[in-house]
Subunit: 240 residues, 2 copies
């Protein structure tokens, strides 16, 4: 580890994939909705395809190719694309689609998340720093009962991570220099973006994030100050 | 009670006085600092005088008489005034003054707060909606371990409560119509401001908020949808 824990004043955690298991949560809820419509679907693969459109959709906003909209709206647009690709346009009505988008508001925490975050929180303030909007994050934190001291959203900067503005707005609101905030994330693009904004970084490996058919982001591909296998390991490395 | 609990989608709680006991917390910390400087001080009365400048200082910002600054800065300016009034200008250095301002970041919850909020949270998302800035609120929530699903600050609207903008910005970010958010506060000015912004309101009576010499805001003077004696009573009235 290349940073002194004393330097860290606030811990900022990514949410989707790092703190909660989006794939299992979304696939389960989509499968239930598909069942009510007698649609036969590999819901895990469906969730993967949906998520594949996540980074490109945010990139278009950050590039200025599209005006700012929050993640619920991006999720809805991506959903329409995926349904079209699957030839399922006519099988799900507006209520079904809204329920699928709302699936991202109710996701299960990883097994180490609740007690791991609580352990970190015994030593430092812990906040969420996510591309989800406030409504989504409020519902998600509530559903999973995440023990956090605050929730910061890219919505406040109107720039999605990994754009520097998302991290720097959080640092500004927290009134803490970027170098004294530890960004914890399971994605190479997120630790890279955070480092570019001057944050300290911890890469948390979530090998199951993308399900059994795909490879999740690997520590070998990440550049970070700390590499951890879960929130307990992170706490231990920080001497917390 | 004049509202149907089913209407409430999110509960927004005021912090200072409603959730935490600012007077005890500030007085204790100021007393400790005064002791290190051999200054004899009635710290409770000092906290009262300091807090007396709270609403006027925010009113000047909302009126446009002063540009936006966050609550830490208003607290610091008010502190300078109070020290001057007390003839204590020369007795506390910059570090002492910064520590006094930081006292507002570490305040004890009322006895019913932690379990009462947890009970409310079993039924609805519960967020803070406070005039404190993000840094202050992050530290305060962390110190008291408040069980919340999010923290919203007047800082996001750059308008202090009871200005409508502070409430409406929160409703916009939560993506919930104002009438479906319940504002819980121990101050007449706060429930009045929230109602003007279209929120449902609960007045929580905190008779000890202003200490033994003064009278806290009374339910008889408030106009609210619900009148509660503490967070448990509020939960019971909502059938939670």
């Amino acid at each position: 580890m290349s940073i002194d824990p004393a330097r860290i004043q606030v811990i900022a955690c990514d949410i989707f994939g790092t703190t909660v298991d989006w794939r299992t949560g979304v696939a389960d809820q989509v499968a239930r909705i598909a069942q009510t419509r007698d649609v036969d679907l590999d819901a895990g693969a469906f969730a993967d395809h949906w998520r594949d459109l996540y980074l490109p959709s945010m990139r278009r906003v950050n590039n200025g190719d599209q005006p700012w909209v929050n993640l619920d709206i991006l999720h809805r647009r991506s959903l329409e694309e995926v349904l079209h690709e699957y030839g399922l346009d006519g099988r799900f009505d507006d209520t079904d689609r809204a329920a699928m988008v709302a699936a991202w508001h109710r996701l299960p925490p990883w097994p180490d998340t609740l007690s791991g975050l609580a352990r970190l929180r015994n030593h430092r303030p812990v906040v969420a720093l996510s591309n989800g909007g406030f409504r989504l994050l409020t519902n998600l934190v509530h559903h999973a009962r995440l023990p956090l001291d605050g929730v910061l959203s890219a919505e406040l900067a109107r720039t999605y991570k990994p754009g520097s503005g998302a991290y720097l707005k959080a640092a500004e609101l927290l009134d803490v220099p970027p170098g004294n905030i530890l960004m914890v994330a399971a994605h190479v693009w997120d630790t890279t973006g955070a480092a570019e904004a001057g944050f300290a970084t911890a890469f948390l490996h979530r090998p199951d994030e993308k399900g059994p058919q795909r490879t999740a982001d690997r520590p070998d591909d990440a550049t970070a100050d700390i590499y951890a296998t879960d929130f307990y390991d992170l706490a231990a490395q920080l001497d917390f």
